[in-house]
Structures are given as C-alpha cells and as structure tokens.
C-alpha cells in the first residue's frame, strides 16, 4: 500500500450557537458536519462549495484557528488537536496558511523584509534568514530590491505573491489556501495559479485549497471535495468528480457555471 497520509481528518464537526435575547441559546447551527478525508504528500485537494457551505470553517479547524466541536485532525500521525502552547506553536511551522484578501492579511506598517522576517523569528529560524528570504522571493518571482517596499506599494498580484512567500518561508509540509485567487483579476489570477502549480511540481508541496470557482479547482487540483451544508457530498479524483459526480448537488453546481463557447481558430 501507499505511505500513510500527511493529513488525516476524521468526523470533524463544528456547531455554532445562535444566541437569542438575554444570552439564551436560541438554536444550534452545524456549520461543518462529520467531515473526513485523507491528504497524501504531493496531493492538491480542492474543497469547493457555495458561501455558507462550511469550507472556511473546515480549514480554520484544521489550522487550529478555531476549535472543533468534535473530530480528529492528524498531521503526519500527530494529533493536532491535542497540542497547545509551545508545542502547537512549534508544530505550526509545518502547516501554513494563505488568506483570500491579499491586502488585509499584510500589516500595512511593515515592509516586506519585516513581513518575511516575522515567521523566521517566531519559529527560531533567524540564523539562515537572509538565505531563506532570498530563496522564497526567487520562488515566488519577487525581486529582492522590493524588500524595503510596503504592501501599498505592491500590486494585487505582488501582494498575493508576498503572502505565498510568507507562508513558504518556514518550510511547511502543508499549505492551506482559502480562496487565494478570488480577489484577483483574470490576468493576475492566472499568474498566481501558475505559481502554485510550479511550487507544487518543483517542491512537491501538499496543498489544501478552498475555492468557490470550479474552473480554478480544475486547473490546480488532482483531488476534489464538494461541500454542501456542512457535509462533504463528493470526494475523489478531480477527473472523476467532474466527469461523474456522485451527488446531485455537484451536478447542479457544474451545470450552473456559465460556459465560454469554443474558438473558431482552435
């Protein structure tokens, strides 16, 4: 058989409590409902779903940004949910996140050098810091002459490259990206998707990728999970899910995408 998965997610569930008047519990809302999947090294798993389907809540639990109601998350066999304090901080080096809004996720008062320095400081990697910074900048295609620039001096595409560089710098095993290209224009989106494809190919990066755009998922991912109302309703190889979706919901989603007609010259 193949090696054990890098990431194992089992029965992950999160309830939110909606409060009524005077702090009474009005109702419970299950945002993520019993989600299980494995992610192997070098795989790119895309999670697709409409707004409110629970996809962001799912990755926030996996990255320990919010606590699950129940379930298990194992990274390389280690129980991530059992970690706390300094052991959690140390483990965070192995899973890094890229957020949707390339501007809101960068401190506007820090220049690029400081933004990239922070994860090195946090993970005690300062000794070879300069080399690491030069190396990630080269990988994401930003010149080192930009190091003194502030986020407002970068274009949208460059900001997202910086976010990717910041996530890569501690050398993570798993990269979790929540809608990293949704805010970008088509021509810039293509550059960013190609960068992620190259990183995946060259570094064997394992990627958990969230998007609402099925075409973006199709470009990048070899595996796909489809979420609807907190449940994973389809999961499998990308080709299979797109060609023969098992759930009616996935079929509806695929049918709703506006198609571009074929060109006459191709």
């Amino acid at each position: 058989m193949t090696s054990s998965p890098l990431l194992e997610v089992r029965d992950l569930t999160r309830d939110f409590v909606v409060r009524g008047g005077l702090g009474r519990v009005a109702k419970r809302f299950r945002a993520v409902d019993g989600v299980s999947f494995d992610l192997h090294r070098g795989d790119v798993l895309g999670i697709v779903g409409e707004s409110g389907s629970g996809k962001s809540t799912l990755v926030r639990m996996i990255t320990r940004l919010i606590a699950p109601t129940r379930g298990e998350v194992r990274l390389d066999g280690h129980d991530l949910l059992a970690l706390s304090g300094s052991t959690l901080r140390a483990e965070r080096r192995r899973f890094q996140m890229i957020f949707q809004d390339p501007y809101a996720s960068l401190n506007p008062r820090w220049n690029m050098r400081r933004i990239l320095d922070e994860p090195l400081r946090a993970h005690g990697l300062k000794s070879d810091g300069a080399a690491r910074i030069a190396s990630v900048l080269d990988q994401v295609g930003l010149p080192t002459t930009f190091l003194n620039r502030y986020p407002h001096e970068l274009s949208g595409g460059q900001r997202q490259r910086l976010n990717i560089a910041r996530a890569l710098i501690p050398g993570p095993d798993l990269l979790v990206a929540d809608e990293p290209v949704a805010a970008l224009d088509v021509s810039i989106q293509a550059q960013t998707l190609n960068l992620l494809l190259d990183l995946q190919r060259d570094r064997g990066l394992t990627l958990l990728f969230i998007a609402h755009d099925l075409a973006v998922i199709k470009t990048l991912c070899n595996r796909v999970g489809v979420m609807s109302r907190g449940k994973l309703v389809d999961l499998g190889e990308a080709e299979d899910v797109f060609k023969n979706p098992t759930s009616d919901y996935t079929r509806t989603l695929l049918d709703a995408i506006p198609r571009m007609p074929a060109r006459a010259d191709e």
Binding site: E50, D185, A190, N194, A215, V216, K218, T219, P258, A264
Partner: protein, 324 residues
C-alpha cells in the same frame, strides 16, 4: 436607421490629481438598442463602472469629471440636462443595479418600503399602490411569499435574495434602460444562473435595453448579444458575442481568453505578462496595452489605433485589424 436607446459618443472621464488630469475613460463610444443586452468587460480599474456612472449622472464635478463627449438617451444629451431632468429619468426610465446588494439597501427600512419609494417618487403613486407595485416587483424576481417578505428588513434576506430585491427596485420604475454593474459577482453560481435568467426574461418581456458590466467572460457568453472589451479606459474591441468568442482579434481579448481557467482545461494557464496600468501610469499616447503585448512594435508607441472594422466586429489594434 432607428436611433439607439443609449448612445455614448467619445466619452472621456478624468480625475484631477496634483493639477494634472488623468483620463480614466478615454473616447469611449458605445450604444445599447432596445431589447439588446450589451456586455462591457474588463479588469478592475479599466473604467467600465465609471462609464455606467457617467450615464447615470453620478460623476460629480470633483474629483472625477466628464471631460468630453456625449451621452444620448433617446436622442437627448444627458450631459446637457439639468439636475431636475436627470432626477426624473434616474431610477425611472434609467435604472442601475450595483454590485454589492448590502450597501445599496438601507438596513433600517423594510425591503418593500425601499422598492415602493420608486413609484411614489417617480409616478406620484399613493402609498397602497406603490406597495402593491413593490410586492409585484418582488414576485417578478422570484421571491416566494413576496407580500410577507416585503415587510422584512435587508438582514433577514440571504445574499441572493438581497440582490434580487435590488433588481426588483430597478424594475419597479419600469426602466427602458437598465445598467447592471457586476450584478452577480458577489453571488454563488447557482444564484448567479437565476439572476442572469431573470435579466434575459426581463429583456424579452419588456423590451428594455441592458448594459451588463462584468469581468466574467462566461457570464457575457451566456447573457449578452453584443460585447465591448475595455482596457485602461478605452474600448479595444467590440463585436457580437458569437463573433468575439469565435474570433477574438485584439491581443488583450485573446490574452484574457487564454488566461481564464475553464472546466475544459487542465494544468498551466497562459497569463498575460505584467499588470494593467494604474490611472497615473496610463501612457499619454499610443496603445495602452503595448507593454504587455506580444505583437507590439514602434507604431504602437506613437499612436493609439482607432476602433475600426465592420458593424459586426471592430478592433483597435494596428497589428490585428478585422479581416487581416
């Protein structure tokens, strides 16, 4: 030839910054006929929303201003109309749907009240009639139990329903011209499909003209009859939808088509190198796309190519003229 419903000629919109005028819309000519859905596509900052805002008379004197051209609605130049005349048209004969349904609705008034305001103001309708119009507009956009829903406030509506409420508000004045600025961008694909269907039905039923602003080429392909592509404030290509998708001529249009991920493609995309120019850095002369263009040569730096071709397809490029 009959005159188009909306006829924009040589429109320029500029921003004055440090005493310099930067043109964000440059010499744009575009028309929308009755019963026609025209798409205006381009990336953020290309001037497509600004064009629609100019039609609505929403460009003030500062910092942005209309720097030249005509905007004719049924032959009348809107730029010469008084504020009172514009006010009579706006919301009534010409309506606009904005991208973000949450910020275009007032959170403290009921949905019904906000829609009923349109017939009350423009037709002087009594309150009960205006309310009935509002409920029927909500029914038209497919909101179930419209009479109950009309009494709710915006936060009680989902995102898709809010956008439908905003469209209902546009419909309540029975407009002849509807300007829809990214009406489905904030919505999920299944809701988007419903809203686009709704716009097409509306056109079929009332014969209104629609200018649909979007960055999504799939939306254009499924909804529009004709399409204009904008780059850095200029229309660089204009054609029937069928023609544009079959034979894109401008290198920018071509690049966009190649860069967009689709379900049919896998693997690396073909991005357009570089990035769109900022307002400050749009070159004063020559083609604004030349720095990113694979075909550019010295002529492109000197003179902006005119938008030329036949009725069905016009392109502004020295290297890719229609029929070449």
């Amino acid at each position: 030839m009959t005159q188009p419903l909306l006829d924009i000629r040589n429109l320029s919109v500029g921003f004055v910054r440090d005493g310099m005028t930067h043109l964000a819309v440059q010499a744009v000519s575009l028309s929308v006929g009755r019963g026609e859905i025209v798409g205006l596509v381009g990336e953020s900052g290309c001037g497509k929303s600004l064009t629609a805002k100019a039609v609505m008379g929403l460009i003030g004197r500062k910092p942005g201003q209309v720097a030249g051209g005509d905007i004719r609605f049924e032959g009348r130049n809107l730029l010469e109309a008084t504020d009172r005349e514009i006010q009579a048209l706006r919301g009534h004969r010409i309506a606009m749907i904005f991208q973000d349904p949450m910020t275009s609705l007032n959170p403290v008034f009921t949905i019904g009240n906000q829609i009923a305001e349109v017939p009350r103001i423009h037709e002087g309708a009594p309150a009960n009639e205006a309310w009935a119009t509002a409920v029927s507009a909500l029914e038209q956009v497919g909101i179930a139990e419209a009479s109950t829903r009309a009494r709710q406030v915006p936060f009680e509506f989902s995102g898709g329903m809010r956008q439908r409420a905003v469209i209902a508000m546009g419909l309540a004045g029975h407009p002849d011209l509807l300007l829809a600025d990214e009406p489905t961008t904030a919505l999920d694909v299944t809701v988007q499909a419903q809203i686009l269907d709704l716009l097409k039905q509306l056109r079929d039923r009332t014969g209104c003209g629609i200018l649909l602003i979007t960055h999504d080429l799939g939306v254009v392909a499924e909804t529009c009859d004709r399409v204009a592509v904008m780059y850095a404030g200029r229309i660089v290509e204009e054609a029937s939808v069928k023609e544009l998708f079959a034979r894109p001529r401008h290198p920018y249009t071509d690049g966009l088509f190649r860069a967009v991920p689709t379900l049919e493609r896998t693997g690396r995309l073909e991005p357009i190198p570089g990035q769109p120019p900022d307002l400050d850095s749009i070159p004063a002369q020559g083609c604004p796309f030349r720095d990113r263009c694979p075909l550019a040569e010295s002529q492109c730096a000197d003179t902006m190519p005119p938008l030329v071709g036949c009725n069905n397809h016009r392109v502004a490029c020295w290297k890719r003229e229609v029929g070449s």
